[in-house]
């Protein structure tokens, strides 16, 4: 850091034109502010650039109809603040309990203005350093071996002011509207500017291009006053409750589906927008035709001479003329401000609206440039929540932790526990952790085993895509194997054309847990860290390569995985078998017996009782254990004499014997096969 400051100040002297900061953040939206918060907490030198006069300028305009579709669940029946974040999709992460979104709005689907107000408060209450009215219009690199990443980032704003940064965090979101060019596209109104007053659509026939939430939101708004609405898009409609992806069509917006499927009033059509053409007749009505017809016609011909599809096919679906055509095709990342040397490349296929980044959120083209927020969604597009506040607030934290380790030698935060706490720490996290839950299959908790499995180190919410680089990215060592705790949906459950309501969709029995469909915890065990090659060759749809062992905690209707027999017991058996040890708890009395009858003690006795932290247990409780046949009451033998060995509660002996019982796991597998 000293060096960084030194070089920083040096730069300030040498080239007075540059204002230097270790970290520059472009954009004071949710992810920019979230990143600023973590940098501020860590005491880092940073600055946020915001082109508007206030944070969250995107939310000041969008969504046009002002209703956020991220839920603001104020009541969950639980007071656990971490758990409650699972159902709070709007708050950013901070230590300040005033900055919880439920304090800002009572609406389940809050107004976008509230979000703007919230972001303003977030920036001001936490005193985040944001430079407003500064639009970064160009970013380039200056090679310098002294720099953290071998180069500095040079930023230029609209007033030709220059800034120099060691690390660049791009939090600009995706704000450039997607436009399709076809003959007649000049007649199309954009979502950005279309009227939101339903009265303006009274008695009109409307065609909407696009099939995302903005398209349906627009339709929903005017559904009651139009003649009818048609929607055209290349892809089929994807319902978010079927795909488990929050970016797909949310039920709150799908009123049009209702009228379409019930009475054929409104409708959906599939087709490639590139093939379209729109022509305007003399009355100002808009007709749909195909680009193909236009290309064939004589350029001088009048509008009337243009062939319409219905001329050849008189039941052509969109033969009725429209009064308006509205484009609601979503947004893309602004690639324009980056110099070619930064190699900010668009992604492939349906990810072309996002810049290419690694699973560590670092740009593929430039070291030291990290993409945060919505623009970073290529990592988990159409899978998890990384493109939304309730997802990227965690990935932003993960990026910050990576940076702390890389530039400041602060390793990934971790806690070391004795091995007896292994089952507990997993159960605690899968029940309350919100990052694991929101960023399912993307962020995972990592448990690094210490030598001889007597202790372990717990790392929270690490980006699982860079598991192979764990040691360099976190500054923690993993020589003795590791567990990865992650949440997953059933592999074949979600999908655009899947029936997610079929009978017996829920698995109830722990032994069939691997077939669980709903979001449930999965624990992978690796005896050594997977290599990058193994990560690359992992099966499709698997977040991780084949583990040495895997455990699914059976899905739960209440997402409460604390049942002693259905959830905790199978987990314990799994952990025991991975570590080849006995993780049961014992009363002090049992430990006492073991101490005199065994040369070795189970971990619970070794780490508890023998360190004078034995579980004496109340009399009533010990009696329960005796009832269960898991503890022998030796006091009883005073009266009964020696009990016959086959008495039903042969118990402590039973317990001792349990331990040496010849278990035949292979035979179990054979039996399973037979079934």
């Amino acid at each position: 850091l000293g060096l960084a400051l030194y070089t920083g100040s040096l730069c300030a002297v040498n080239s007075a034109a540059f204002l230097y900061h270790d970290y520059c953040i472009i954009g004071a939206g949710p992810s920019g502010l979230q990143a600023a918060y973590f940098l501020q907490q860590a005491g880092r030198d940073y600055l946020v650039f915001e082109r508007s006069h206030a944070p969250g300028s995107f939310f000041a305009l969008y969504p046009r109809h002002r209703k956020l579709i991220s839920i603001n669940k104020r009541y969950t029946g639980k007071s656990n603040s971490e758990f409650n974040l699972r159902h709070d999709w709007n708050s950013l992460l901070s230590h300040d309990r005033r900055l919880l979104f439920r304090r800002y709005s009572r609406d389940f689907f809050p107004n976008a203005d509230t979000m703007v107000r919230y972001l303003e408060d977030f920036a001001s209450l936490l005193k985040l350093r944001v430079q407003y009215n500064t639009a970064i219009i160009h970013v380039t690199l200056e090679t310098d071996e002294q720099a953290w990443n071998g180069h500095y980032f040079l930023l230029t704003d609209q007033d030709r002011q220059n800034y120099k940064c060691s690390s660049l965090l791009v939090a600009t979101g995706t704000w450039v509207p997607n436009v399709v060019n076809f003959p007649g596209s000049e007649y199309v109104e954009g979502y950005e500017t279309v009227s939101i007053n339903p009265e303006d659509f009274a008695g009109q026939t409307v065609l909407i291009l696009g099939r995302g939430n903005s398209a349906f939101e627009t339709a929903e708004n005017i559904l009651g006053v139009t003649n009818f609405i048609h929607m055209v898009s290349r892809s089929r409609v994807r319902l978010s409750w079927a795909t488990h992806y929050v970016g797909d069509l949310r039920a709150i917006n799908n009123g049009l589906l209702d009228t379409y499927q019930l009475k054929s009033l409104d409708g959906l059509l599939e087709g490639d927008l590139e093939d379209l053409a729109i022509i305007k007749d003399k009355k100002g009505k808009l007709h749909i035709t195909l680009r193909f017809y236009l290309e064939n016609r004589n350029t001088s011909a009048s509008i009337d001479s243009i062939t319409l599809p219905q001329d050849e096919l008189d039941n052509f679906a969109t033969r009725a003329p429209y009064d308006r055509v509205i484009r609601c095709l979503g947004w893309k990342f602004d690639f324009s401000i980056y110099n070619r040397s930064l190699r900010m490349m668009p992604g492939k296929g349906n990810k072309k609206k996002y810049p290419q980044i690694k699973p560590s959120y670092e740009s593929r083209g430039t070291r030291g440039l990290f993409v945060l927020g919505t623009a970073s969604h290529s990592v988990d597009f159409r899978k998890s929540a990384g493109g939304f506040i309730h997802g990227f607030r965690y990935t932003t934290r993960a990026v910050h932790r990576l940076l702390e380790n890389r530039h400041h030698g602060v390793p990934w935060p971790s806690t070391v526990y004795p091995i007896t706490q292994l089952t507990n720490s997993i159960i605690k996290r899968v029940n309350e952790a919100s990052g694991l839950y929101q960023m399912f299959s993307v962020l995972a908790d990592i448990i690094l085993l210490r030598e001889n499995a007597t202790a372990f180190e717990y790392l929270e919410e690490y980006p699982v895509g860079v598991l192979a680089e764990l040691e360099t990215q976190t500054g923690r060592k993993a020589p003795n194997g590791l567990f990865v705790v992650i949440m997953e949906y059933g592999r074949n459950f979600s999908g655009a054309d899947k029936d997610v309501f079929y009978y017996n969709r829920a698995v109830g029995e722990a032994q069939h847990a691997w077939q669980s469909n709903f979001l449930h915890p999965v624990i992978y065990y690796y005896r050594r860290l997977p290599t990058e090659r193994e990560m690359k060759l992992r099966p499709p749809d698997w977040p991780l390569p084949r583990p040495d062992a895997i455990h699914h905690i059976v899905e739960d209707f209440l997402t409460d995985w604390t049942a002693p027999n259905a959830h905790i017991l199978p987990l314990r058996r799994f952990l025991e078998n991975c570590l080849s040890t006995d993780l049961r708890n014992f009363f002090a009395e049992s430990c006492f017996l073991f101490a005199f009858t065994h040369q070795k003690l189970p971990p619970f006795c070794r780490q508890g009782y023998m360190r004078m932290q034995g579980l004496v247990g109340s009399e009533g409780l010990r009696r329960r254990a005796v009832e269960a046949g898991l503890l022998e009451d030796y006091a009883l033998t005073d009266f009964l004499g020696d009990r016959p060995p086959d008495s039903p509660e042969g118990s402590q002996d039973q317990l001792l014997r349990d331990h040496v019982i010849p278990v035949r796991p292979l035979q179990h597998l054979v039996n399973a096969k037979d079934e």
């Binding site: 009395e589 254990a625 503890l631 006091a635």
Partner: protein, 839 residues
């Protein structure tokens, strides 16, 4: 398949191969029905078949026909097909034409008739198999009637190969069949000789042979050099069954004495695999030759009953008495090796024979048990809770806890609550975690005991509801108890999770530690345990630091130590001007410690040299240990940490005056440093019975003095009960122990704590259910299941494997294994065989 069958294969593995493949083919249609033309056309050279001819239904042949049908499967194992030939009515050829031909069965090899059997020689499956094999194995099994014949064969074999001599009272019996079946497998290795003449048996050294039962002798002719002497013989002790013969021959083939130069725990021989004990003769370089001779002698005596190995002490670092000369390893998993000091080879024989008797009984019992357990074993009990704490808490779930004395704290109320009372005890727990809930139950009892105590507030925080507070208070595991002092600091409770211990801790930590005493009277009262009065009812020891005004360094260290020991020990200090008066009374010069144990009259004094606070903590903790404590569940860890052997006097109730005095003398004596002398009151610590049972199988008569090497070797020695417990006797006994002159009564298991049961193997299930699942892409697929599920100790015990499971494994098509698996498989086969013959 048939090509192989044409050859006489005696290799055992092929037999197994057949056996394992039989069940898949099923038993239907093993008996072929052909007409004569078809039959004779089907005969192949070298291939044997048993045929009988019939004119459709002839009622008289019915029972005979059934037996033939039943034997078809057994004969198929040996490559012999069984055919029923249906003669057309008009046929008058050789086999169909004659009337009496219909009452015979014919054995062909190729189209050559080997033997005709009258139907009365084929009365059941045993007789059919025995007689058919007998006919076919004409060269492999010599039938003798006279002693001369036997001797001639024996002499011819000397130096060449061994002989298996069997006597059966009659041919066509189950024993005869077993011998023939063994000959089928081993016929090319050993010369088989069979007789039905009891007189031949008499000459084999057995004076009064039991001629009614079959016998088998293995004659070691291969090594015999002296033509005049008969070959050495080893009789098989068990009944003549295929399995026993196989086992016997296997044992005879094993080396007489195995030389071993590794940890005996790791040694495994044929004997152990076949469920027999292994005797180690411990040898040294100096005595090697003699030991070798002894071993060979013993080995001959034990041949067929136990294995003998010669263990070189020079190569293996054995942690046993130097005097030990013999070790016994039993085939049971988990039973430690017994090291013994024996004087006579006869003792070894007795030992082994007794052992096998006991085992026989145990096996019978086990079998019964296993049958009972079988149902349970099917589902493996994986889903049954075997954690005593979790299960106890779940069973207690519905009982409402009296929690009204304990304040519930939340994120909002936490900090304000701490300011209200002088001392706030906070239990941080998780409402789903069993150990937390167990502690919560004790905590309610503490609350009950402390009800009305001024200045102490008992409270709890459920970290499942309020994770923020718990994180902030640095609570990383459940449960945690912290005691907050108003506005100042907090102490983490680090003692036992018991009502009594926690109550005492809370009460003791109310008084500042160390407590500044103002007057000599207070100091005296403090040593008597009367001051401060609020602690007088709590059992504790008091430490009083006496300091002169000059010794501030030691005083500071003492104060620091007090900080650490607060709640566990009461510490006072006196540094007024008249401290000298106090120090004179107890004959110490300041800085010094005065130590008053609870219940004891005397005050001990220790002078302090320069010490850090840590040293002082250690010193005080050590000094507070009793010299001859009653060991309890609560205090064991304190003494355990000394890592010394324990000399424990087990007593049912209080110990007698005499024992107490003698033991105290012993404990105070010079040997005090070497071990922990203590006693255990079975009335107060009933689990002591469990210890005794583990050591001696039953609870022996008490009082009983036991020496346990808890930390080194785990041997348990029992003080001879006929000797009175006196210091002298014990000391001389201990000398003997040290010199290695005593034999341990038992040895503590050295086993690791492995997972009690396997986990669900979801990887395997995924692969089975979705074979197309691209799980194999990862290249190290093979080694993964090696560890998961883990290999458990009992797995290797081939002899205990339930036969039915084994056959199941065969069905699935398990790959060839080593010979360990053969015995149970044969057993399984035999069981099946029995069932067939019973039909």
């Amino acid at each position: 398949m048939s090509a192989q069958k044409n050859k006489w294969i005696s290799s055992f593995s092929f037999l197994l191969f057949w056996v394992s493949s039989i069940p898949t083919r099923g038993s239907v249609g093993l008996l072929q029905e052909l007409n004569p033309q078809e039959y004779f056309r089907s005969l192949q050279p070298g291939r044997a078949s048993l045929a009988y001819f019939s004119h459709h239904v002839s009622p008289g042949g019915q029972p005979f026909l059934e037996q033939i049908e039943n034997s078809a499967e057994a004969l198929q194992d040996y490559g012999i097909s069984v055919v029923k030939v249906n003669c057309p009515k008009e046929d008058i050829s050789r086999y169909c034409g004659k009337d009496n031909a219909l009452r015979k069965a014919y054995l062909f090899r190729g189209n050559m008739l080997i033997r005709e059997f009258p139907t009365d020689a084929l009365f059941d499956v045993n007789s059919i198999v025995a007689n058919v094999l007998f006919a076919l194995l004409f060269n492999e099994v010599k039938y003798v009637e006279t002693l001369t014949d036997l001797q001639n064969i024996e002499n011819a074999l000397k130096g060449r190969s061994n002989m298996v001599f069997a006597y059966v009272p009659a041919t066509g019996t189950a024993e005869h069949r077993a011998v023939m079946e063994a000959a089928f497998v081993y016929g090319t290795v050993h010369q088989f000789v069979l007789t039905t003449e009891a007189t031949l048996l008499k000459d084999t050294g057995n004076d009064e042979p039991d001629v009614s039962s079959a016998q088998l002798l293995f004659c070691h002719c291969q090594q015999a050099t002296d033509l005049a002497q008969p070959c050495r013989r080893t009789a098989m002790g068990q009944a003549l069954t295929m399995l026993n013969i196989h086992r016997h021959l296997k044992l005879m083939a094993a080396p007489l004495v195995t030389e071993v130069a590794e940890d005996p725990e790791k040694v495994s021989t044929v004997h152990l695999q076949l469920g027999l004990p292994l005797v180690f003769i411990l040898s040294q370089k100096e005595t090697y030759e003699a030991d070798r001779r002894t071993a060979e002698f013993v080995a001959w005596q034990l041949l067929g009953k136990a294995g003998v190995a010669l263990l070189s002490r020079d190569h293996v670092d054995l942690n046993v008495l130097l005097r030990s000369n013999v070790a016994l390893k039993t085939p049971d998993e988990g039973v430690p090796i017994k090291y013994l000091v024996l004087e006579d080879t006869d003792e070894i024989l007795t030992l082994v024979e007794d052992k096998s008797k006991v085992e026989q009984i145990q096996e019978d019992e086990e079998e019964e048990e296993e049958e009972e357990d079988e149902g349970e074993k099917e589902n493996n009990n994986q889903d049954i809770q075997d954690d005593q704490v979790v299960e106890a808490v779940s069973r207690d779930k519905k009982r409402e806890l009296p929690l009204e004395q304990i304040l519930v704290l939340t994120e909002e109320t936490f900090h304000s609550a701490l300011l209200e009372t002088a001392r706030t005890v906070v239990l941080f727990y998780a409402s789903w975690e069993a150990v937390s809930l167990a502690v919560l139950r004790s905590y309610t009892e503490v609350a009950d005991q402390l009800k009305g105590t001024q200045g102490v507030l008992l409270s709890r925080v459920n970290c499942w509801d309020w994770p923020g507070v718990c994180t902030k208070e640095n609570v990383t595991q459940f449960p945690t108890i912290k005691i907050y002092e108003k506005g100042e600091r907090s102490v983490i409770y680090n003692g036992m999770w018991g009502t009594e211990e926690l109550t005492t801790f809370i009460m003791l930590s109310r008084v500042s530690c160390p407590l500044k005493l103002a007057t000599i009277d207070e100091a005296e009262g403090y040593l008597r345990g009367e001051f401060p009065s609020e602690l007088s009812s709590y059992h504790h020891a008091s430490v009083l630091g006496v300091f002169s005004t000059a010794t501030s360094e030691a005083r500071e260290a003492f104060e620091e130590a007090g900080d650490i020991l607060s709640g566990h020990v009461t510490m006072g200090m006196y540094f007024e001007d008249d401290a000298l008066a106090l120090s004179r009374k107890y004959a110490v010069s300041p800085p010094a410690l005065l130590l008053a144990r609870s219940g004891a009259q005397s005050v001990e004094s220790i002078s302090l040299s320069k010490q850090s606070a840590q040293d002082m903590v250690q010193m005080i903790t050590y000094e507070l240990l009793d010299i001859f404590p009653e060991i309890t569940v609560q205090n064991l860890p304190h003494y355990w940490q000394l890592r010394k052997p324990f000399l424990i006097l087990f007593s049912d109730g209080d110990i007698g005056q005499m024992e107490s005095t003698e033991m105290l003398k012993l404990a105070k004596g010079r040997s005090q440093q070497a071990f922990v002398a203590c006693w255990l009151n079975l009335k107060k610590t009933p689990v002591g019975r469990g210890i005794l049972k583990a050591y001696f199988a039953t609870v022996p008569s008490l009082p009983l003095l036991v020496w346990v090497n808890l930390h080194a070797g785990g041997q348990v020695f029992r003080f001879p009960s006929e000797q009175p417990i006196t210091e002298m006797n014990i000391l001389s006994w201990l000398e003997k122990l040290k010199a290695g002159l005593e034999i341990p009564s038992s040895t503590l298991s050295e086993e690791d704590w492995k997972p009690p049961l396997p986990a669900y193997d979801f990887l395997q299930m995924m692969e089975t259910a979705v074979p197309g699942l691209p799980l194999h892409t990862s290249h190290h697929h093979g080694d993964m299941l090696e560890q998961h599920p883990p290999k458990s100790p009992g797995e290797d015990k081939a002899t205990q494997v339930d036969p039915s499971q084994e056959t199941k494994a065969e069905k699935v098509g398990s790959p060839g294994r080593d010979l360990r698996g053969t015995a149970p498989r044969l057993a399984a086969r035999e069981k099946q065989g029995k069932r067939h013959s019973e039909l």
